[in-house]
């Protein structure tokens, strides 16, 4: 008989509630969950079709082992023994740091917790990271420095109460549709909407000001806005005095950003910048939303710190309808970070270099010691693999062969490994390169928790069994630990037991348990004890670090600027019905049919100069590679700027992108690189 299971959408970080319809072991439909706090009975196109890939024929059903270049099916015993032996052999010969692990923002908190524990306590390395590195590493670094906590300060629901919403670098209706709903709700209450984005977005239809800045010029834009606010005397003097430090240094820096100079750098008319600054500063409560447009830069951390400066300057932190709201891209990227699937911190953002924290966690885990040296990040792992320093990788639920910058280099790195094991639900582009592939269960086939972008920890529920012999990631990790001989560290028989351990080492989650979480609203961290109701708004009375810290940030150019050989700026992003590397959405007909293929968006002026018509095939080349792709002539990008969505492996934007890193967060500059474009064969 058919049943409806309340659970959480597996796509973006909004964390909408869905009722999954299950019948005879199959997921047959999705409906909105009316009671759910965030989605309130609504869903986006991805949510409505979240069941479509689950029963796809391509699902991995048995472990695979590569022999002489091709895969054969294997038993779990054989596959896990091979993985265990290889990992032991490489660790024995080259040390634990010759192994690197990628955790997954698609997996549950419990699974991320186990994967990083496996890396640290069993392998003995801090080389564990995940795709947060490619999306909000700079947010975590920037907000940690400014506020002491790297997470979204406010809640999704309270955005509807804002009097001004400033959206910078977020295509909210496409990527976080149910958060865009709150923008519409605020607008209909009379709020002003400011948008800054190098590419026109749908919310521009409701914007009061739209600033189309040059890719990579955000610091200059934000400094320019702050100068306007200071010049008009609109800064919140009391807030600055009582709650912040470092204001004088900021003042000195922003005086170097008069509007004529900012106009030159950003390409945005001075009058519009002034208008935006005044609207933001004069509103009673102003909220900022941002996403990859801010973070994926070699100046990503600077960009985030500038946003924090703007909010503190006007006292827009710690109240409903205000705050800094980084919109996290993956269903559980917040949780994967919280769980310490990062090379520099244990669960709860506790530094691996802190001896006291190390000792405390080692005691809970029952191990003698834990590695103290900060491990490698995503791009550094690939570099180290390419140089032969990292010899084995264990990749769970990630697809760097599509998601990471400079794919040619990624491939070379992964092929240079002595051993690669990939654990996933489909045979991804990355899995194809593996020596062993372990089939895992998807979101509808297991219990666990996801933490959404507003720090809300929510239960997901098993609606059906995993296909074939595939198993939930947490079971696989426990089993692998047993085969390696570390089973005593992983005695778990359920995700709820794992949660009971992780809350002991994660202070923000200390007050949560499965019983408390078994209600529609979940709990927002920090939740320090079992009587604590959770925390909808951070930094209400004081910042997590005490005083909020202004950072004087000067504008730096992107790592790669257009020149005569590569005269265009390429910026990348996503489209509304595809998700990330397309592993799931390209196998969901209703989603794939909306955007079945890649395109490069070209301004009509450039198109006519280049002799390119809508639908023509063009070649786009950078210093790293070239792709053939269809042109979409559109005024959403300005002259000199091209846009390509990165979902499509066959003409992957990331063949072109620049792996230049932000020096602090180590996030690559996926949003700006220099390219050339030329017409190839005509369409039709």
């Amino acid at each position: 008989m058919l049943s409806f299971i309340p659970t959480i959408c597996p796509y973006c970080g909004a964390g909408c509630g869905i009722l999954l319809a299950a019948k005879d072991g199959n997921a047959v439909g999705t409906m909105p969950w009316s009671r759910h706090q965030i989605s309130e009975g609504r869903l986006c196109i991805k949510g409505w079709n979240a069941h479509q890939f689950i029963g796809h024929q391509d699902r991995l059903k048995k472990p695979l082992i590569k022999d002489n270049g091709s895969f054969r099916e294997a038993t779990w015993d054989e596959a896990l023994n091979l993985v265990a032996n290889k990992l032991k052999e490489i660790k024995g010969k080259d040390g634990p740091d010759a192994i690197a692990v990628l955790s997954s923002a698609k997996c549950t908190n419990e699974e991320n917790y186990l994967i990083q524990k496996f890396a640290r306590a069993v392998i003995g390395t801090n080389n564990v990271d995940h795709c947060a590195r490619l999306c909000h590493a700079s947010t975590v670094a920037g907000l940690l420095a400014a506020f002491g906590s790297g997470a979204m300060t406010n809640s999704i629901a309270d955005l509807g109460q804002a009097d001004c919403i400033f959206i910078i670098g977020s295509d909210t209706t496409s990527q976080h549709p149910l958060i865009a709903r709150r923008v519409i709700m605020a607008k209909e209450r009379g709020a002003k909407i400011i948008i800054a984005d190098p590419k026109g977005i749908q919310l521009c239809n409701v914007a009061d000001v739209y600033l189309q800045q040059n890719p990579g010029s955000d610091v200059a834009l934000l400094n320019g806005m702050m100068k306007v606010i200071i010049d008009h005397g609109l800064e919140d003097k009391e807030f600055i005095q009582e709650r912040t430090e470092g204001f004088q240094e900021l003042l000195q820096t922003i005086h170097d950003y008069p509007l004529d100079k900012v106009e030159r750098i950003t390409g945005v008319p001075a009058a519009d910048i002034e208008k935006a600054a005044l609207i933001y500063a004069e509103a009673k409560s102003s909220a900022i939303l941002f996403a990859m447009g801010i973070t994926q830069h070699s100046t990503g951390t600077d960009n985030v710190m500038s946003i924090a400066n703007l909010a503190m300057l006007t006292g827009n932190v710690g109240r409903a309808g205000s705050g800094i709201n980084p919109l996290r891209g993956q269903n559980n990227v917040q949780g994967a970070c919280d769980m310490g699937a990062l090379p520099n911190v244990f669960p709860g953002y506790q530094a691996v270099t802190d001896a006291e924290k190390r000792a405390k966690i080692a005691e809970v885990w029952g191990v003698a010691e834990l590695p103290s040296q900060v491990g490698l990040t995503v791009v550094e792992m690939i570099n180290a693999a390419s140089e032969g320093k990292v010899k084995a990788m264990y990749i769970t639920g990630e697809n760097p062969m599509v998601s990471d910058p400079d794919i040619g280099h990624v491939k070379q790195g992964l092929e240079n490994l002595q051993f690669l094991v990939v654990q996933d639900i489909f045979l991804t582009e990355t899995a194809k390169l593996a020596d062993v592939v372990l089939p895992s269960a998807c979101w509808a086939e297991k219990e666990g928790t996801f933490t959404n972008t507003e720090r809300r920890v929510q239960r997901i529920r098993r609606a059906i069994d995993p296909p074939g012999e595939s198993r939930p990631d947490w079971e696989i990790v426990c089993e692998l630990a047993r085969v390696v001989g570390a089973g005593q560290l992983f005695p778990f028989t359920s995700p709820s037991e794992i949660f009971d351990e992780l809350r002991k080492v994660t202070p923000q989650y200390a007050g949560m348990n499965y019983e408390r979480l078994n209600q529609p609203d979940g709990l927002q961290w920090p939740c320090p004890d079992e009587s604590h109701p959770g925390t909808p708004i951070l930094h209400t009375k004081q910042f997590t670090r005490g005083k909020g810290k202004f950072h004087a940030v000067a504008y730096r150019e992107p790592a790669e600027e257009p020149d005569s050989q590569y005269p265009y700026i390429l910026t990348t992003g996503r489209v509304m019905s595809q998700f990330h590397t397309g592993t799931m959405t390209r196998r969901s007909p209703a989603l794939n049919n909306e955007f079945p293929e890649a395109f490069v968006e070209v301004n009509p002026e450039d198109a006519s100069k280049l002799g390119i018509e809508d639908g023509d095939w063009v070649e786009v080349a950078s210093r790293r590679g070239k792709i053939e792709i269809k042109a979409l002539v559109s005024d959403k990008v300005k002259p000199g700027v091209l846009f390509i969505p990165f979902h499509f492996a066959e003409c992957a934007a990331n063949v072109l992108t620049n792996p230049a890193l932000d020096p602090i967060a180590k996030i690559p500059e996926l949003k700006v690189c220099a390219v050339a474009i030329q017409a190839t064969k005509q369409s039709k």
Partner: protein, 346 residues
């Protein structure tokens, strides 16, 4: 009688129907994870009948769920509000539901509230009052979903039986032969409590329709068109309005991206997207409000559909969801009607 006794009476009927073998399954709303969380469920075991709750938080159209997920070969009882019952009748006309297999237990319904509107616990909305946590107070109309304020069908007279909350004992009206089977299985006597009060709700419906539609009618044709086109600019093409609509039953839909009619991946979608759906549905719109409740962009879409439906209903004298034998105008339109109102429709 209060809400909880009303729930118990309904549970009793359902459980008797399962026990006697009159039906194989029941589709109804049950309580989910808390008192505001009301979710649909198919029930086959009579012991599970006690999970059924009657509150005014009912989300989703049971007609849509029945057509989409109900087992076509089974006899199924559905605990319906008027809009569910009317949806089932419309879907039966379109061969999506076999009416012979369906038993409808009708609930008195004067409107629903959003579960996120936590003004009232254990809520039941009546004509001019609400019951919350067992207490009766005057109804604040802002509690109601916009479509419910305009609803003129508080009593499901088109269901097999209709049950009224506001009588002691519960009033039961038998409307069909199947209704007689239900009362006999549940060992109840029909027409126990007499007439159900509906005047207040019908008065409200008239008043609210006038208000909502007057706002539109006050605009010039051009302003009215622009108003809706601006609303459609917010559309993110989630297809939620279509997915939630009990009248939108086609498996193969003109709006789908692979049908070419509407350009794939264009946002907001072409204006035709909404107009096509409007043309396909407006003759039979039930004002059930599912489209608007599902819209992530806050488009007041049920107002457009309901208003247009009222215009068409006056021309074609068609009242959807009442009589299974009367087919919708779109399927039965005559040459003469194509020229109605001086508009050449052909």
């Amino acid at each position: 009688m209060g809400r909880s006794e009303y729930s118990e009476k309904i549970q009793h009927i359902v459980s008797a129907m399962l026990r006697s073998g009159l039906v194989d399954e029941v589709l109804a709303f049950v309580q989910g994870l808390d008192e505001y969380d009301i979710v649909p469920a198919f029930i086959a075991d009579e012991r599970d009948a006690e999970k059924i709750v009657v509150t005014s938080y009912n989300p989703l159209s049971l007609a849509k769920l029945l057509a989409e997920y109900g087992d076509k070969d089974k006899k199924i009882a559905v605990v319906v509000r008027s809009c569910d019952a009317r949806g089932i009748i419309e879907l039966a006309k379109r061969n999506q539901i076999n009416r012979d297999n369906i038993y409808m237990i009708g609930l008195e319904c004067h409107g629903v509230a959003k579960p996120s509107d936590k003004r009232a616990k254990e809520l039941y909305i009546l004509g001019s009052e609400i019951e919350a946590s067992g207490e009766r107070t005057a109804l604040d109309e802002t509690l109601l979903a916009p479509n419910c304020r305009r609803c003129e069908y508080p009593l499901p007279t088109m269901a097999d039986i209709s049950c009224g909350i506001d009588r002691e004992p519960m009033s039961i009206t038998v409307n069909t032969e199947k209704g007689r089977e239900i009362v006999s299985a549940a060992k109840l006597s029909a027409d126990e409590g007499g007439e159900i009060e509906s005047a207040a709700t019908k008065e409200r419906a008239t008043r609210r329709q006038e208000e909502d539609f007057a706002e539109m009618r006050g605009m010039s044709a051009e302003d009215r068109l622009n108003y809706w086109l601006r609303q459609f600019d917010k559309c993110i093409k989630c297809y939620g309005c279509r997915n939630a609509c009990p009248i939108c039953y086609c498996k193969d839909c003109y709006l789908d991206a692979d049908r070419i009619l509407i350009k794939a991946g264009k946002l907001p979608p072409e204006k035709l997207f909404h107009l096509v759906r409007l043309i396909h549905v407006a003759d039979s719109c039930l004002n059930c409000g599912q489209c608007e409740a599902a819209c992530p962009m806050q488009i007041p879409i049920s107002k457009l559909y309901h208003m247009l439906h009222k215009e068409l209903s006056a021309i074609f004298h068609y009242e959807p969801g009442i009589d299974i034998a009367v087919l919708p105008p779109l399927g039965t339109i005559s040459e003469e009607e194509l020229k109605a109102g001086g508009v050449e429709l052909a």
